[in-house]
Symmetry: D2
């Protein structure tokens, strides 16, 4: 990808998530955008938990899906999720900070395959997702 387009894509992704109501409502932050992957961060607060006092699976699936969609955007592709599948590995207690890395496994012209891992700062893996995405169009045009 052209350097100029890439810079435009990065700015676009930041505003894309600043203007995303559900991502804002869950206090998810876009921390890093690289050509191959995107990082999103979240502090597990009380409103993210279930009755057991751990992060609700829906929070983890949301951040994983968002990180994968953002990874597609970092490839200059605007997509919709066709299928998202998440394996839950370890419970995340309230107060814990975690982040999701989304990266592209297959960058097809019509569909993309992505993965996302949710880690804490020590590198403990809490969940792993993969998804299939339908490519709508390029995010930033070439002209």
């Amino acid at each position: 990808m052209d350097e100029h387009i890439y810079e435009t894509v990065k700015k676009f992704i930041s505003s894309f998530y600043r203007d995303n109501p559900f991502v804002q409502y869950l206090h998810i932050k876009v921390s890093a955008i690289e050509p191959e992957q995107v990082r999103l961060d979240i502090d597990i607060a009380h409103e993210h938990t279930n009755v057991y006092g751990i992060a609700h699976g829906g929070v983890l699936m949301t951040i994983a899906d968002t990180a994968m969609g953002a990874a597609c955007l970092s490839h200059n592709k605007r997509v919709v999720t066709l299928d998202c599948s998440t394996s839950f590995i370890k419970a995340i207690p309230e107060g814990q900070h975690v982040y999701a890395i989304g990266h592209v496994v297959h960058d097809g012209s019509r569909t993309m395959v992505c993965e996302s891992d949710i880690f804490d700062e020590k590198g403990t893996l809490y969940a792993k997702a993969h998804g299939t995405f339908f490519v709508l169009k390029q995010f930033v045009g070439e002209d």
Copy 2:
């Protein structure tokens, strides 16, 4: 299941979700609990949407996962999600009311398999999820 236990299970599920911070934060309501399935309702409000003005996939995965977990509870089993996979079929615009039906496909002693469909009142299908759940223990004891 014994009639008396079933009534206790129903009360337990209602309070279970009333005391579930993330389910509350997303304004998801438990509408019906039957031995075979559970229904959860949601009005897609602005905070549930993404930049396209449609329900974020994370909202749908949350309500589907919750409906499946509740269906396990309706079988008097307390579970954790091992894996949840969702197919997104149709976009849900802001302002739309939808509901998720969760039901148990396989009621094993150690693992359960569930499904959840998300419909509107006209019966249009928006998403379909399935999940594998690990059985922790009975929800309501026999004594």
Copy 3:
């Protein structure tokens, strides 16, 4: 679908699987083709088993995937599988006869979502799969 096209589709599906080397190699038979679903049958023979003497998961995933692809064909759509996810519910011993029903959950113009259940003649459920399919083109043309 026009009656004449439907009859042509049915004949096409039969020959489609008669000429399918892997389906033949596994002795899978197409038993019924209806607009909404397709049924495939298999006798679990020694070559289908694993070291435990039960059907290898790969056999079940093969018949489920094939039944879903055939269900797409019964809608006059030629597809490729994007993603296939299978839940294994009950072991199938050598000598058991089972069949897979594939049906279409979402018949989109670009992607389709299907499900498949594997039963024995008593209706016991052994496995359940769902998949996302990419539509290549119509199977039988309108001229």
Copy 4:
């Protein structure tokens, strides 16, 4: 894992797949067993193909599932597959040689999460699977 147990595990895995009828029937070979991952190889022959002359999805799901089960065995755990989900990325023509690498993502006492990638010798990725496995018991005892 104790060196002696590991050597026993390796021998066990080799015989495990030599005595596995479906793995034999598909001419899948166990090529390498390491503590973290297992490699299985296959030549896509005519009997592995579908009507398009490419490897049937069932062949890829079989080798992926087998590689993941073998990776669990390499951790000295005997497992059954609960759920297996595969993304198909690129068609494999008849005559192509491919291999599957299975590795363990989460080595739990009761469930394991694994992944498998299918590559050719140039490193092209054809498919990617992940699965959840239920731990039955240790493969090789400590006595």
